[in-house]
């Protein structure tokens, strides 16, 4: 029952998160002027509600309680009627996901340092190299268009500010 263990861990994480939020809410300083419901009131209420729900969730996981009465089939039937999102495949290609996460973090890090155009071009090509390198020429052209050309369209035509980074010397 790997799936259950995953949800069990999640429920504990949610309890910790809710508790931390609630503690944080209690530490919100009171304003100088006394008010009916100070700045802490609403967050405290939310924190309590979250904590209760997280505990119910954990209880469901570890006792197999409330939801167990509703059979899997019934849940799916209801899900179909209300059009719930499809469940996703649990087996994940962790290597590819790790690569993409790393790529995003690097992209964010270099976004201002290298500038939008260069960072985007590099991100795009790195992605292409890793995921599918059969159409390098075509994808390279697409990468140039979506980084450099788009950069000039945005900054010059639409006047949206984007970081120039290393291209700064080209500014006029």
């Amino acid at each position: 029952m790997k799936e259950n263990r995953e949800e069990g861990i999640a429920s504990i994480v949610l309890i910790i998160f809710s508790a931390a939020y609630l503690v944080g809410a209690f530490f919100i300083p009171m304003p100088v002027l006394k008010q009916q419901l100070g700045p802490g009131g609403f967050p405290i209420a939310i924190g309590f509600a979250m904590l209760i729900l997280a505990c119910i969730y954990a209880w469901e996981q570890f006792r197999g309680g409330m939801t167990a009465k509703e059979s899997e089939e019934e849940i799916e039937k209801r899900a179909a009627i209300i059009g719930a999102e499809e469940k996703i495949e649990k087996k994940a290609d962790l290597k590819t996901m790790g690569f993409i996460l790393g790529l995003m973090l690097l992209y964010a890090f270099f976004f201002e340092i290298l500038g939008y155009a260069i960072a985007t071009f590099l991100m795009f090509m790195a992605g292409v190299f890793y995921l599918d390198r059969r159409h390098l020429v075509r994808d390279g052209v697409i990468a140039v268009v979506s980084s450099f050309v788009l950069y000039y369209i945005f900054t010059i035509l639409l006047r949206v500010q984007l970081p120039a980074g290393l291209l700064k010397f080209l500014e006029y």
């Binding site: 995953e6 008010q35 967050p43 939310i46 729900l53 209300i82 994940a92 973090l105 939008y116 991100m123």
Partner: protein, 508 residues
């Protein structure tokens, strides 16, 4: 007669606003981009609208909403095309369309299926817009009399009704809503100037940017989900054989199901406040019960396409009533639109009709224009749209990453926002894995600030007594509605059946 002349005045005002070259162009761009998003696999209307919000920053509110409404409508249309030709719904509200649409296409009747979907959507969309025109000012008039307690209860009811319909587990959906509300409390408190959950980070003083969360939870999450399963399944699509024209027999079967779909969809979206996906499922159920040709359903009956497609467009139009008149979003996509409007500095609500008539009526007029444009854009050009499916998935993902970063960066020119967005992308993926719905988070964020404000205003009026929410009849009614919505799934455990669940939410 006063009403009538008022009405005509408003309509002409609307068309004069929507009819300017600039707004016509924006409407066209909107429905065009919307259709594009709807057709592309893996990008639903929520992701699409969120990604395209930065385009609206330089626009005036009216122009911005015309563009967004166009995207919203277009995505609804586009989703049905892939359902019919590829058996892959572009978004959740056209899942049902696959059932009969794909079967029709297999029998060589793809043209008729597309035509039925497009014309049904057109009729339903026009009907919903008409209803918005007739009832919008009336609903807004009622809501104008609401005080802070009523508004608080209304928002609570809106949140719980939408949440109760959001996923398999009520506990998870409610937690998601509260998570959104919790995020909304970050930043400096408007009323006391006290910083909350800021962690001494100056960039968090204004709170977490709504777009950071929305794009992370939807767009980047989409990338992770697709990367987790990069098998790159080749999609087999059916070609469009024969004419697009429906035969006399088709038309005869088309109209009753179109009317049923439109009415039920409008009820679900406009009155119950549930989204387009729910509407399409309700409509399919209705066809199964009441259609003369119910035995053919699932084997390529035209009713199975017309009903749900009319319903989801009627619901999409209907939920705009909630958004414009009450300021309460009825679905994830409208929540994102509300967030965008708040970013531009416009608070939708009952005052909108009296204070900014050119905004409301301009939008309404542009919806007629958009609907007509979509019909023209979709039927003859369907072949072109289908070609979009040739774009390889990995390139599409690169584009989503690029546009996500571009969009979020332009809001505050902040690199920290980019990292936060990636963080929410990871959270979004984990939530999806655990089957926790993400749309309620957005709803919570968008409504959180206002909800807290109304609650505190109410308590000032009542001098601190919570009884103010119960003593006022409208507020009490709305609170009861919220309780009904929350307890709904548990009635079933006592053995009341699924139908009660659906019947209870709208009626209760």
């Amino acid at each position: 007669m006063d009403f009538l002349s008022n009405f005509w005045g408003n309509v002409t005002l609307g068309f004069s606003v929507a009819g300017t070259t600039m707004n016509l162009l924006l409407c066209f761009i909107g429905v065009f981009l919307g259709t594009l998003i709807g057709v592309l696999p893996g990008i639903g209307p929520m992701t699409g609208v969120a990604l395209l919000i930065p385009l609206t920053f330089s626009l005036k509110p009216t122009a911005a909403i015309i563009l967004m409404a166009g995207i919203y409508y277009g995505a609804m249309y586009g989703g049905s095309t892939t359902s019919i030709l590829v058996n892959t719904p572009g978004e959740s509200s056209s899942v049902v369309t696959c059932l009969d649409g794909y079967q029709m296409a297999k029998k060589g009747r793809a043209g008729q299926a597309l035509a039925a979907a497009a014309i049904g959507s057109f009729i339903a969309g026009t009907f919903a817009t008409l209803m918005l025109m007739l009832f919008g000012p009336w609903v807004a008039g009622i809501a104008l009399k609401f005080g802070p307690p009523e508004f608080f209860s209304l928002m609570l009811a809106g949140l719980t009704v939408v949440t109760s319909l959001a996923g398999r587990s009520l506990v998870k959906a409610l937690f998601a809503t509260l998570f959104g509300l919790a995020i909304a409390t970050m930043g400096i408190d408007n009323q006391s100037g006290v910083p909350r959950f800021v962690f001494n980070n100056p960039e968090l003083m204004d709170g977490l940017e709504f777009l950071v969360v929305a794009i992370g939870l939807f767009a980047l999450c989409e990338v992770f989900v697709n990367m987790a399963d990069m098998k790159g399944a080749v999609m087999e699509r059916l070609s469009i054989k024969g004419s697009l024209w429906m035969s006399k027999e088709d038309w005869k079967r088309f109209f009753p199901s179109c009317i049923r779909g439109t009415l039920s969809g409008f009820f679900v979206g406009g009155i119950a406040g549930a989204g387009a996906a729910v509407a399409s499922f309700v409509s399919y159920g209705l066809e199964k019960k009441s259609s003369k040709y119910r035995d053919e359903l699932g084997h390529g009956a035209i009713e199975g396409v017309t009903g749900p497609e009319s319903a989801n467009n009627a619901a999409a139009g209907g939920s705009l009533i909630h958004l414009l008149c009450l300021g309460i979003p009825g679905s994830g996509t409208t929540a994102i639109m509300l967030g965008a409007l708040l970013m531009i500095g416009l608070q939708p609500g009952p005052l909108l009709f009296t204070q900014q008539p050119e905004f409301v009526w301009g939008l309404i007029a542009s919806m007629y224009i958009g609907n007509t444009l979509l019909l023209v854009l979709n039927l003859p050009l369907v072949g072109m749209w289908v070609k979009l499916l040739d774009i390889p998935l990995y390139l599409l993902m690169m584009f989503i990453i690029m546009f996500s970063f571009l969009g979020v960066y332009t809001v505050n020119n902040s690199v920290q926002d980019l990292f936060l967005m990636v963080g929410f992308g990871v959270i979004g993926y984990l939530m999806k894995r655990l089957d926790i719905p993400a749309a309620p988070v957005i709803l919570g964020i968008v409504l959180g600030k206002l909800m807290e404000e109304k609650m505190r205003q109410s308590l000032v009026i009542s001098d601190g007594s919570l009884m103010i929410f119960i003593n006022r009849p409208i507020s009490l009614f709305l609170l009861l509605l919220a309780i009904v919505a929350i307890t709904n799934p548990y009635w079933k455990q006592i053995g009341r059946g699924v139908r009660r669940l659906l019947g209870g939410a709208p009626a209760g």
